[in-house]
Amino acid sequence: MKQKNEILSKTLPNGLVVLAQHIPHIKSAAYDVSFPGGLAMDDKDALGASLILAELTSRGTKNLNSRALSDAFDFDGIRHSESAGFSRYSYRGSLVADKIDTALTLVRDMILDPSLPKEEVASIKDLYLQDLISLKDNPSALAMIELQKRYLPEPFCRSQYGEESGIEGVSYDRLKKLWDDSYAPSKAIVSVAGAIEPERIFEQIEALFSRWEGEGHSPPEFTEFQSTGDHHVPYESAQQQIVFAYPSAPFLSKHYYTAKVVNGILSGGMFGRLFIEVREKRGLCYSVYSKHAGAKDYGMVTVYAGTTPERAHETLSVILEELNNVSGNIEEKELSRAKTNLLSGLIMSEESAASRSVTNSSDWYLTGKLRTLEEIREGIESVTVDDISDYLSEFPPNDFSLLTLGKRALTRDSVGGKR
């Protein structure tokens, strides 16, 4: 007998991995179908081609035209999205579980049998070009992208919005070729969770996807971080954006859970040190946070603060001080608070089918296996103050790249920050 909540996996002969998790006491289900591709694998002169292609596959299949396809999803109340991310294409959806057959069939049709209507390309390009224009009106997102461009190596530095020249210039034939080259099962994952029977999902996926063939793209390998200098982008806005990034533990590193806990201490809930010191005690910002992201072969912490220009100097100075203070300065209580929060969030996310389907898929992609709730709990609970010291000596939060976007430039030297 399978245990409740157990996640089962099966690999089909074409390489496609199927993950299925039954969640008791809910009526919904969610799917996530993903495979390598996206901005990281776009040709350098066609950045954004993958964005157009993912959207194009949703504009009709061999059986259904664009309108009929959209109507079919809507008729069964299936919320769905088709997109190209940084290194994966993903097709996701949430639905009332008795509609899972329809949902997976429609997704199969978009991936394996899209009609790729040429006449839709111009309007899709228009949409993504407008997204790029709109980005200019979004200072916080723009600041992060500008930082990423300067700090990460090619192709990790690429903007998830693509580039104007790439979107405008890519031809229909190149889009078709991109579909031929990248839509392949060898590294694809289909993850389904919710009110479903795993064995039935395996049968269904096998029936739908076993004729899918091909090798597809390989994800890029990370080299090393770029310049750690200070940068400024002039911009007319009420608030000054301050962002910076420094290396941290990758997903597979022994420091991974420690990095998550340290980020919890710095930026968890409303009790993180940055929030307390910058916002609660000094009222310098509305929004200040740090994030830890652990990819397969690199990890990174990004810090964000948005504040009016006259408070920017003090904001940066307090943040830098807090980052320097973490090492060797953590109380047991603080540690336990950060762990409780991570665990509580984790358990609550267990009852959401959408969150399970995505997490299972990303775990498999990163490690080739699945983490049980127990493993994660253990990983988080076992972090000690000594682990934190080890982590911080390997990834000291001072080797960073800083970027400000707004009316005036700001450097770490100007606030007495260490290099």
């Binding site: 006491h25 009526k27 919904s28 664009s66 959209s70 109507d71 809507d74 008729f75 069964d76 109340g77 919320r79 639905l95 009332v96 509609k99 111009a122 309007s123 899709i124 390009k125 228009d126 949409l127 407008q130 997204d131 224009i133 709109s134 200019k136 009106d137 200072p139 007319e236 806005s237 009420a238 608030q239 809930g269 409303m270 009790f271 307390i276 916002r279 609660e280 000094r282 009222g283 310098l284 910002c285 509305y286 929004s287 948005g306 504040t307 009016t308 408070r311 209580k333 336990s336 608070r337 409780t340 929060n341 665990l343 509580s344 969030g345 358990i347 609550m348 267990e350 009852e351 959401s352």
Partner: protein, 406 residues
């Protein structure tokens, strides 16, 4: 399996619960029937400012204690202020429910310490600055103010830099006493908890809260439709907003109109989607109903490049001028979309919490998810026609935000 109960304490505080023993968490929220609409001009922004002060200390907890205690409980907590309601909510694992209850009810009796007040005022001013940099928010805020021309329904939630700067802690204490009466607050709990525990906690921690006969003051609103273009420096995209009549939160016609706005203006697969977004003319387009206390509005919105703003605006109006230009299968699809979303969002205690709280605050109504789904299932074309026979979609104000000309 899922059951609901309502208890009214002797001071008038309503306690609503929906228990689902299979949930992995429990969510609770205090829904206060107060917001920007209940502010005088001098108080503009005070409801939202007060919402922030609830996290800044009580008679027995400092601001840091509040924050750290929330952290120790693993609570996912937050609050929001709208034109008509202020809501404080959190979710925890069931074993931390009692701790959360004690903490959240203590927070609702804030100390409003002067030093904390002064610091937090700066945070609010930063929040106002942050939203100034978001064009669509900027347009909504300014358009509502103009559309309601002086009526309190158009009051700004954040207030302005000037109004917030001038607010004193005494004004805030006065507002708190006036508006946070037990009879003006509803406590909602959803998820995995025990009735006996809830009742005992409510009596113990909220039973002594003072009450008064506080009421919202209502005045007649007669829309005068306006057409206005606003300009913003260094803007890249154009934004268009049409504000028209809707129906109030009490109106049964809201079901029919919600279905209609889904047909005409849902994010995908709607009339506006096919006309504007699928064709690449607009970056986004939507149409929705905002049901409020005693009145309601509809918003039609689109963002596009400045050179296309007139064309997009015309097409937006064209869709609204022909609201019944849809098929029965469009109707069926919209119903299915709405019902599926209700089921999905209703699966998490937090999703049900919001739905239960708002439905009680506005309608004194307690519906199970199944009943809510049935209401939408039962809507026919004739119900939409009847709803349209009233004021919705007869006329609207039109606001456009464009880049300032150099």
């Amino acid at each position: 399996m899922i059951d609901q109960k309502l208890v009214t304490l002797s001071n008038g505080l309503n306690v609503l619960g929906e228990r689902n023993p299979h949930s992995k968490s429990v969510a609770m929220g205090f829904f206060v029937n107060t917001g920007a609409r209940d502010e005088t001009d001098e108080e503009s922004g005070i409801s939202h400012f007060l919402e922030h002060m609830m996290f800044k200390g009580t008679a027995k907890r400092s601001a840091l204690d509040v924050t750290y205690d929330l952290g120790a409980l693993g609570a996912q907590a937050n609050a929001y202020t709208s034109e008509e309601t202020t809501v404080y909510y959190a979710a925890v694992l069931p074993e931390n429910f009692e701790g959360l209850f004690e903490l959240l009810s203590d927070m609702l009796q804030p100390a409003i310490d002067q030093a904390e007040f002064d610091t937090e005022k700066n945070v609010i001013l930063e929040e106002i600055a942050l939203y100034q940099d978001r064009p669509s928010f900027y347009l909504f805020e300014n358009a509502l103010l103009r559309h309601f021309s002086g009526h309190n329904a158009g009051n700004s939630v954040l207030g302005t830099t000037e109004s917030v700067s001038a607010i004193t802690s005494d004004q805030m204490k006065d507002y708190l006493t006036r508006r946070y009466a037990a009879s003006n607050i509803t406590l909602v709990v959803s998820g995995n908890f025990e009735w006996s525990t809830l009742q005992a906690l409510a009596e113990e921690h909220c039973g002594q809260w003072p009450s008064n006969g506080t009421q919202r003051s209502y005045s007649e609103f007669t829309p005068e439709n306006k057409t206005e273009t606003l300009y913003k420096k260094d803007l890249s995209q154009a934004h268009i907003l049409l504000i028209g009549d809707g129906v109030s939160a009490k109106s049964e016609e809201r079901y029919a109109l919600n279905i209609l706005t889904t047909i005409l203006g849902d994010g995908t697969g709607s009339k506006l989607y096919w006309k504007l977004v699928d064709t690449g003319l607009a970056e986004s387009a939507g149409f929705e109903l905002d049901t409020r206390d005693g009145l309601g509005v509809t918003y039609a919105y689109a963002s596009t490049t400045p050179d296309r703003s007139e064309k997009v605006s015309d097409l937006l109006e064209e869709v609204l001028q022909n609201p019944l230009d849809f098929s029965l299968s469009d109707l069926e699809r919209a119903k299915n979309k709405i019902c599926s979303r209700l089921v999905l969002s209703g699966e998490l205690p937090m999703g049900r919490l919001m739905s239960l709280g708002n439905s009680w605050i506005y309608r004194k109504e307690m519906h199970s998810l199944d009943i809510e789904v049935e209401k939408y299932r039962g809507i026919e074309l004739v119900d939409i026609e009847t709803a349209l026979a009233g004021t919705p979609l007869k006329s609207w104000s039109k606001f456009t935000l464009l880049p300032e000309k150099n």
